[in-house]
Symmetry: C2
Subunit: 344 residues, 2 copies
Amino acid sequence: MGQEVPVKRDEIITLDHGSGGLKTKELIEGLFLEMLSNPLLDTLEDSAVFNVNGGRVAFTTDSYVVDPIVFPGGDIGALSVHGTINDLAMKGAWPLALSLGLILEEGLEMKVLERVLDSVARASKEAGVMVATGDTKVVPKGKGDKIFINTTGLGAIPGGIDIGVHRVLPGDVIISSGTIGDHGITILTQREGLKFAGDLKSDSQPLHRLVKGLIEELGEDLHCLRDPTRGGVATVLVEVAERAGVPMEIFEDRLPIREEVRATAELLGLDPLYLANEGKLLCWVPERCSDKALEVMRGYEEGKDAAVIGRVVQGDQGRVVLNTIIGGKRAIFALSGTPLPRIC
Amino acid sequence: MGQEVPVKRDEIITLDHGSGGLKTKELIEGLFLEMLSNPLLDTLEDSAVFNVNGGRVAFTTDSYVVDPIVFPGGDIGALSVHGTINDLAMKGAWPLALSLGLILEEGLEMKVLERVLDSVARASKEAGVMVATGDTKVVPKGKGDKIFINTTGLGAIPGGIDIGVHRVLPGDVIISSGTIGDHGITILTQREGLKFAGDLKSDSQPLHRLVKGLIEELGEDLHCLRDPTRGGVATVLVEVAERAGVPMEIFEDRLPIREEVRATAELLGLDPLYLANEGKLLCWVPERCSDKALEVMRGYEEGKDAAVIGRVVQGDQGRVVLNTIIGGKRAIFALSGTPLPRIC
C-alpha cells in the first residue's frame, strides 16, 4: 500500500461534480462510497448485479436533466429509456422492467409533457420493455427546469455470463460499436444556439439487442462492456484501465468520428474523445475474437460503424496512451476542469 | 358502461398536479396510463408485481422533493429510504435493494450533502437493505432546489401472498397502524416558520418488519395494505373504495391523532385526514382477524398506536363516509383544490 495524501474536499457542489469526470469520481469515491459502502455499490459498474430467486439480475439507476429537453435525434424521454437499457446491457442483462420518476416544474406546458411521455412510450415499446411503475412530483416555478426524469431498470443476466472490468486482460482489443461524440456535440451546439452546416444528431439508441448478439456469439469471451456517456470515451477508458490495473493504447486514426462531428468539435475547441455518447459501447474481447465481434456488431444497424480502436497491453499501470495520426504518443486523462453540464 | 364526458385537460402543470389528490389522479389516469398503458402499470398499486426467475418481485419508484430537506423527525435522506421500503411493503415485499438517484443544485453545501447521505446510510443500514446502485447529476443554481432524491426499490414477495385492492371485501375492517397527520403537519409548520407549543415531528419510519409480522400471523387474510402519504388517509380510502367498487365508513372518534397534531391542524384550518404520513399504513382484513392484526401491530414500536378506524360495508358504489363525533355522516372525497406541495 502506498501512502495516500488526503484530498481536501470541496465545500460546495459545482457543475463539475456532475460532469462525469474527475470531480464526479472524487465525489463518488470520496463521499458516497465512504458513507454507503457495500459489496454491490463498491463495484462502481454501470449496474449492480445480485441474485434474485436463484438467478442473477442487474439493477441500475439514472437521472436525466438534459438541456434542451428536445434535440435532433431524440429528447429526454427516449434518452431516459435508452440510457437505462444500455446500463443494464453493459452487464449483459436483458431489460425486464423500467421505472419512471418525473419531477415537473410548475408551468410546464402539458403538450411538452405529452411529447416526452409519447417518446418514453415509443422508446420502451420499440425496445420491448415495460414501464412498470411511476411517480410524479411537481416543484414550484424556478425550483426545477421543465422536466427531470429518473429511470431505474431491472434486467436478467443469462447464466454463465460475467462481464466486467475485472475480466479485462492484456491482449484484449478495444472495439467501439460506432461513431463517437454525436450526442455531446449535438446537445452543446443546440444549447448554444449554434448553427452549423451538416447534420448533427444524437446517437440515442438502445444497445440490448446488439449485446445479446455479442453474448450469443462470443459467450464468455465477452470480457467487458462500457457505454461512454458523460466524460466520453477518454474518461471511460481511463476508468477501466485504472480499475483493471492494466495499460491501454488507442489509435487516433482508427477512431470512428463523423466528419460533421469532427469539424464542429474542432471549431469549438472540443475533443470528441470527451464528448458524451448515448447509443454506443466500448467492448473488450481477446484479439482472436476481434473479427467475430466486429462481424456481429456490423450485423446491427446500431453497430454498423463498429471499429477496433485500441488494445490492452502488458504492464502494471492503469494508464491510457493515444497514438496520434502524426506518429506521436499522448497520455489520455479523465475529463477534468471543463464541465459539459446537463449533457444527459 | 355509462356515458363518459371527456374532461378538458389542463394546459399547464400546476402544483396541484403533484398534490397526490384529484389533479394527480387526472394526470396519471388521463395522460400517463393512456400513453404508457401496460398490465403492470395499469394496476396503479404502490409497487408493480411481476415474476423474476420463477418468484414474484415488487418494483417501485419515488422521487423526493420535500421542502425543507431537514425537518423534526427526519430529513430527505431517511425519508427517501423509508418511503420506498414502505411502497414495497404495501405489496408484502421484503426489500432486496434500493437505487439512489441524486439531482443536486449547484452551490449546495457539501456538509448538507454529507448529512443527507449519512441519513440515507443510517436508514438503509437500520432497515437491512443495501443501496446497490446510484447516480448523481448537478443542475445550475436556480434550476433545482438543493437536493432531489429518487429511490427505486426491488423487493421479494413471499409465496402465496397476494395483497391488493382487488381483495378488499365487505366485512373487512380498516386498521391504521398508528397516528395520522404527523408528517404533513410537521413539514407545513416548518415551511411556514410557524412555532407552536408541543412536539411535532415526522413519523418517517420503515414498515417492512411490521408487514412481515402481519404476513406471518395473518397469511392470506391480509387483504390490502396502503401507506397514506400524499393526499392522506382520506385520499387513499377514496382511491381504494373506488377501485374495489365497495363503500367504506370510518369513525371520527376512532381516528388516532396526536393532540398536538389535532390542535395545530385546527389552528391552520387543515383536516388531519388529508395530511401526509410517512410511516403509517392502512390495512384491510376480515373482521374476525381484527384483534389478531391489532395485537401484531402493537407488538412493534411502529404499530403501537394501531387502531381500527372503519370498515367496508355492503354496496356497489366506491364511496367513503365519515361518521362524525356528533353523530352525523359526511362524505369523504379525495384531496382537491388545496395543494400541499412538496410534502415528500
